[in-house]
Each structure stands twice: as C-alpha cells, then as structure tokens.
C-alpha cells in the first residue's frame, strides 16, 4: 500500500532515514508494523487508514509505563509518556494487521475516541477507561464496564497494588 503524502502537520523535522506513513513514524517490531502518531493526529490517522483498507478495528487497549519508562520500540522522534493507547487494525484485502501506539500523558489522560469510525471499539474503550482511567473524547457512554460503579482507582495502573491478601503462614517469605 502506498503512503499518500497528505501528511498530518508535524512540528519536528523528519529525519531522513525514518519511515513514515500518513506522517506518523513507522517502526517494525518483530516484523509487525507499528505506527506512532501524535495524540492529535491519532483519530485522523485511523480515518485515513480506514480509507486505505484497514476497515476492521480489532482491539483498543493500553499500557502503563510508569515503572519502565524506557519502553521497547519507540522511535526517537516520539516523546514517551506514562500511558500508551494501543489500537490494532486489520485489513481484509492485505491480510495484515497494523498497530498504532499513542502516547498519553499522566496529567491529561485524554485521547480521541474511535467510536464514530469503528463502533466496535465502544466496549474496548470503556474497558481501557475502567482499567487505566484514560478518557476517550467523543465516546457516547464512558462508564466503567468491568468493575463495580463505585470502585476506587484503576486496577491495571502500575501504582495500583495487585490486592493480594498476604499468607498468614509465618515461614512464608515476605513478597509472594
């Protein structure tokens, strides 16, 4: 698939060797294509990719890089943030998947919702909101989905304890 050149405006100068698609830096992780758009360009990128044939949104999830800020596979032009929203798209014609990783800062965890492009992301985005507290702008019904409504905290964040009940057995080592 050829990358057409209506690039999303980007502040940084593009290093020569870096590969891009629709203006977003492209890396390959173990043979899998990963795009790293900016938070603002995320929704537009998905829309353009939909026109390119990536008509199926498989998954939207997230990761919290609080304890591992030097994460794998980030191009040098992208500033790492605490959260990362990961969307996985599928193209039926090309028979290939594509991954999008968006950096979302801790202080302002908001990212555009894909709901109006791929309504199937409704439940997935609710799950990410529930588990990480990332807000999806434009989502029609952003409520908790897995945890009870009055639950405090977002369980999959790295600063949220597993909630293990310690073993009372005295000989048990402290940690596990």
């Amino acid at each position: 698939m050829s990358a057409d050149d209506q690039a999303v405006p980007e502040e940084q100068a593009v290093p020569q060797e870096e590969e891009r698609r629709h203006g977003a830096p492209l890396t390959r992780q173990l043979g899998q294509v990963v795009l790293h758009p900016s938070r603002e360009g995320y929704r537009d990128l998905v829309e353009q990719l939909r026109r390119d044939g990536y008509t199926f949104c498989l998954d939207v999830t997230a990761a919290d890089y609080l304890t591992h800020p030097g994460r794998p596979g980030l191009p040098s032009t992208v500033t790492p943030e605490r959260f990362e929203v990961v969307a996985i798209l599928l193209s039926f014609e090309g028979k290939e998947r594509l991954r999008i990783r968006v950096q979302v800062p801790d202080g302002d965890p908001v990212v555009a919702s894909l709901f109006h492009l791929h309504p199937g992301t409704e439940a997935m985005e609710r799950e990410v909101y529930d588990m990480y507290g990332i807000v999806f702008d434009g989502h029609p019904d952003l409520t908790r989905i897995l945890m009870p409504e009055d639950w405090e905290g977002h369980p999959l964040r790295k600063d949220y304890a597993v909630g293990r009940i310690p073993v009372q057995f005295k000989g048990a080592p402290g940690d596990r």
């Binding site: 173990l30 996985i88 588990m131 999959l156 597993v162």
Partner: protein, 441 residues
C-alpha cells in the same frame, strides 16, 4: 431478577445500566445502533424524542443469574409489549483481574492463568499466549510440537462447538440436545484428561512446546472419537436442522449484515455467518495450517440459523483436519531443546546437580524474555483471540492483554435484539455463544 438493591449491598451499577426512557440521549441511541447505520447525531436526537413515553414500556433485567445468559451476563431490556426497544448488556460480574495477575506470573506460569479465560476452549488461550512468548523469544518450536498443538486445538474446537450445540439446543427447547452435546464433549474431554491430566484448564501448551508427549495409544483414542462423531452429527442434523420448529425459531432472527458485523468488530462464526469468508487459519495462517486442507464455512443471511449451521459444519471440518493431522504428525521432540526455555528432562535431574539447579531456576525465577512488544492472534471457536504482550526484559510480562472475541462479539447484541421479540432474545444470546470468563477476564 429486578435491580439489585440489597440492603447493605456494596455496589450498584447505576451508571452502567440502561438509563430511564426520559433520560435517553442521542448518544445512547447512537451507541446502540445509530452509529452502525451511520446515523447522524441530529437524526438520533430526533428519534430519541419520538420514543414512547414511560408508561407504555417496561424495563426488565435478565441475569446476571439467569439460566439462558450463559453464565453471568446481565442484559437490561426495554420492552413495549413483547418487542425489544432498547437493550444493554452489563458485564463484569466475572471480572477476575487476570491481566493484572498475568503481570505477576512468569512466562512459564502464564498459561495457567490465561487458560482460565475462555474455559470452553482453554487450549486456545494457552496457544496464543505461548505463541506470543515464542515470538518475543524468537525460538522455533519443533515440528512435532506444532502438530500436537494443532491436534489438540482442533479437538478442543470440536468440544467447544458441541458445548454450543448443547446450550443452544437447551435454550431453544431442544432439551435432549444438551444430553447429546455433553456426551460427545465428554468423549473429547476424556482424551484430554488422559493427555494433560485435567478435563479443563489444562496448562498443556506452554512456551517452547507442550508439557508432555501424547500418551501411548493416543492414535486409537483419537480415531475412536473421529469414528463415532460423523454418524452422530448426522443425527443432530436430522434432529434440528431440518426441523420446522427449529427453523422457525432461528431463521431470520437476529440478523447481522456483513457491514454491521465488521463495524461492530465481530469475528469468528458471527462474521462468517454474515458472509465474510475470514478465518485466520486460512488467511493469516499460524502453526502449520498452510499445509492442511479445509474449508472455511460461510453463511449467507447472518441470522441465528446460519451461526448454528456454521458451527455444526465446522465440527465436520475439524474432524477432517484431525484426520489429516493424524496422517502427517511427524516424530521428534515435543518441546524445543533450548536450555534457556526448556527445563531439563526428568532423567537428567537425578544424575546431574547442574540440571537440578537449572530446573529449579526455571520454575522459580523463570526465564528472561528480550524486551519487545508483540500481538499474536489465533482463530478460536469464537473468533480472533489475540494476545498483546509487552516485555521489559525480565521474567514476567510487563503487560499482558488478551483480546477476547466474546467480549467484542457481545456488542452486537443490542443491535441484533433491537425490534425483535423478547423470546428471540434467548436465541440471539445463545447464538453469539459468549463465554463470560473471556468477556470479563
């Protein structure tokens, strides 16, 4: 069951529930169906206003403890007479925190955890986790392990589809089907018990191969299953497929077009029922599926009947696949002989101190996996089962996410139920075949 207001109850799912008719907004309508049809927000707002008043409709709760909701799905339905106006599935009643627990277990312990997600097809969960780990490790597993994995997962697909036939029959009033379905499933489970030690939640497929080689006489066991099934499938065909009552209850019910299925992210039999020939085994092959021959079963109308027929015929395809696997399964090792990943064989532990230490280290500390992130998917009986794995270079996954096909497929419910009868709701839920363990994880 009416809404839960147990005195002293710790939780109430207020905001997750279906809102009252008076508070219905355009957003909610969009969420339910408008957006799939690419309805504009203004049109949705207009429809929300035109809705009947509170007096004529009734909101009822199905579940979370209801025999036809396949576990703990809770469905809120707004009815006008017997017609479903709105509906909303409320999930999370089985949320087990497995993704969090997965970050706390080593890669070798990981399959124990994930296998409990989709408990009707546990081997697929193990498979996808192991494939993801192996992709990060960049190890090749020996051919015999690959073929054993294929054999076991295809048998598991048969068992899972029989579970579907049993519950689907039960839900639609073909009560004897639950007895037959369970009988055939037990055939397969007995073989699993012999091979893996457990009837479910096997922890058999592990990073680096499988836990043990197939037991003596496995070929006869498998052949016995394969020989018994076709004639029985024929019986079920006669019992249900051609039967007028069965057809009346399933045909034209819960229709989903291809466009809607794609927009809603449905995969597996639901997507194929609406006419999209997409099967990962053929289209993005994993294991050794390029080398075997099978048909992708596709429906035409996208209704409950098509989904039933697809699963019934997929059992036939899987039987054919298992026969091919029996012919072609190579000899060799059942796990990779990579000192880093594989514990030393039992016999060596008795002789060598080093092997003992190595064995101990692998099971207590685990092995380190190079830094990286990967997404791997397999075709489970319910659709695309994916695993997104991030490693920070330590012995435990930094992030482990499973894309459960049931979780996504469940979103098609409000759309399929809309405008249908309440009695059909049971048929539609059962045709989605959700496994709540995978929905809630």
């Amino acid at each position: 069951m009416t809404s839960i207001r147990y005195p002293g109850a710790a939780t109430s799912e207020g905001a997750q529930e279906l809102s009252a008719r008076g508070q219905m907004t355009a957003g909610e309508l969009l969420r339910e169906s408008g957006s799939v049809l690419r309805m504009s927000e203004a049109a949705a707002a207009e429809q929300a206003d035109r809705a009947p008043g509170d007096q004529e409709t009734m909101i009822i709760n199905m579940g979370p403890q209801h025999p036809s909701t396949h576990g703990v799905l809770r469905l809120m339905l707004e009815l006008e007479g017997e017609t479903v106006l709105r509906s909303k599935p409320i999930v999370g009643y089985l949320h087990t925190g497995m993704e969090k627990t997965g970050e706390d277990l080593t890669y070798l312990q990981g399959p124990t955890n994930v296998t409990r997600m989709d408990y009707a097809a546990p081997l697929f969960n193990e498979l996808v986790f192991s494939l993801a780990t192996e992709a990060l490790l960049q190890v090749e597993i020996p051919p015999r392990a690959t073929w054993i994995r294929m054999l076991m997962t295809e048998l598991n697909r048969i068992a899972s589809h029989f579970l579907f036939l049993a519950t689907n029959g039960l839900d639609l009033g073909a009560i004897s089907m639950i007895l037959y379905g369970w009988r055939e499933r037990d055939l397969v489970l007995q073989f699993f018990e012999k091979t893996t030690g457990l009837r479910m939640n096997h922890n058999y497929i592990r990073p680096g191969g499988v836990a043990a080689d197939l037991p003596d006489g496995w070929r006869d066991d498998v052949l016995r299953i394969l020989d018994a099934l076709p004639a029985r499938l024929q019986e079920y065909d006669e019992l249900m497929t051609g039967q007028p009552i069965w057809r009346a209850r399933t045909q034209g019910v819960g229709v989903l077009t291809a466009e809607e299925a794609i927009a809603l992210g449905a995969t597996g039999p639901i997507l194929r029922a609406s006419g999209v020939p997409w099967d990962l085994r053929r289209d993005i092959p994993y294991l050794a599926y390029e080398e075997v021959d099978f048909n992708v079963v596709v429906g035409t109308y996208g209704d409950v009947f098509d989904r039933y027929a697809i699963r019934l015929n997929e059992i036939r395809e899987s039987i054919g696949l298992v026969r091919q696997i029996l012919d072609r399964i190579p000899r060799g090792d059942y796990r990779v002989q990579n000192k880093k990943v594989t514990p030393p064989p039992r016999a060596r532990i008795d002789e060598s101190m080093e092997a003992l230490i190595h064995h101990f280290k692998i099971f207590t500390e685990g092995f380190k996996v190079p830094e990286g992130e990967v997404y791997v998917a397999v075709e489970s009986p319910r659709g695309e089962l994916g695993c997104y794995l991030v490693s920070d270079g330590s012995a435990k996954p930094y992030r482990m996410h499973i894309r459960g096909p049931s979780f996504v497929n469940l979103q098609t419910l409000p759309h399929m139920l809309r405008g249908g009868l309440i009695a059909d709701a049971v048929a539609v839920i059962s045709s989605v075949d959700p496994i709540m363990g995978e929905v809630d994880r």
